[in-house]
């Protein structure tokens, strides 16, 4: 439990203290913390998943003062994740109370799920954030570049965890 809390704290800390303050370009706005939602244990009830998503979004909103935006995005993230995971054969891993990862799902399904969810999450946040001041080109460029960076970081996380398991 402590290990899990430490992991969550580190990821959230990495997001709010490092990634949220990246000053590389206005087109880079990676949201890596969603890996916490992506890798939630497979046996968790839907209600808990939604509540965790809501809570994590609330934490992110509190740090960057974007009331409701990350909460809403996290809820959609969880909902889409549920739909995608229902199509993957993960019953055995769910019974083993495993988390969703490259190890449990395999490389291709995990990569495909992560790609969809990360792209969705970034574009959804940018879209909601841009309401009233929408700049489509900026949104598309930021969406793709931030998603790419997030995917890379998540990939590294997964590779590290995979190495550790092996």
């Amino acid at each position: 439990m402590i290990r899990l809390l430490t992991y969550w704290t580190l990821v959230i800390g990495f997001q709010v203290l490092v990634l949220n303050h990246l000053d590389i370009s206005s087109y880079i706005y990676p949201q890596v913390f969603v890996v916490l939602l992506l890798t939630l244990p497979l046996h968790l009830k839907k209600t808990y998943q939604f509540l965790i998503g809501f809570g994590l979004g609330l934490i992110m909103d509190l740090f960057i003062y974007s009331p409701g935006i990350h909460m809403s995005a996290c809820l959609w993230f969880i909902a889409i994740r549920m739909i995608i995971l229902e199509r993957q054969d993960l019953k055995e891993h769910a019974n083993n109370k495993s988390a969703y990862s490259i190890k449990t799902a395999g490389f291709s399904p995990f990569y495909y799920t992560t790609l969809i969810l990360i792209l969705f999450y970034h574009f959804y946040v940018l879209w909601i954030d841009g309401i009233g001041n929408m700049q489509v080109e900026h949104m598309i460029l930021t969406g793709f570049s931030s998603s790419l960076l997030s995917l890379t970081i998540i990939g590294v996380f997964q590779a590290l965890s995979l190495n550790r398991f092996e």
């Binding site: 909103d61 974007s66 009331p67 909460m71 809820l75 009233g132």
Partner: protein, 259 residues
Amino acid sequence: MLFVVLQIICGFLIFSLNPYQQATFSKLALGITASINKLSSNVYSYLDLKNQNSWLQDQISEQFRESYPQSFIYLNDTFHIKDTAKRPLFDAIPAQVVFNTAFKVNNVFIINKGSNHGIKKNMGVISSQGVAGIILSSNENYSTAMSLLNTNMKIIPYINGQEYYTEILWDNTKINSLKINRINKLERVKIGDVVSTGNSSLLFPKGIPIGHVSKITNKPKSQFFELEVKTATNFRNLEYVFVIFNNEYSNLKKLLSND
């Protein structure tokens, strides 16, 4: 269910605490409510058209009475009667056409006012554009009127301040088009001249348009022009009319018959 509830909370937070989103939401909400209000206003206006029409007809009736006051009122100092009302000679009773023909040889139309409303045979009927016909018969609530587009209809034309002792006729050749024969070629009549009612009718006040001259045929070996008159009233879509009530019709008729 939980997802929906949580999303509603998020939506509330997004659109109430983020300034851009709040402004956009307010603008959108204003646009939507304005559209709904406009729609409901249009629907209400449409539903209220009947009342509006009725009100407009009353207004036109009132205007009609005020438009023909001078020669039709008793003057107090002439009669030396203290309470003599300045009663107009003509009144207009608004009515709606419930049946109308325009394609027959002898066209008639039926209006939704009858003897209960004071309508009798031989009253003039006008539309807001001009002369429409003459009442033929009435029952309690409905009356039949002979349309201008009726071969039995005869009105003496008044053109350019002059009454011509001929008649306007419908010869059943063209809808909304009448004929005037026997206009002397010495008369200065031109296309566009307004043809209206004159002084020789007890049914209509002077100056109600019948139509305008649309064609002048100069027949060789004849001393008369043949005029084509486009009716002021469009009989294809005749809907609202006014029955002209001559308050002194019986007295005047009696005087004329004595002569």
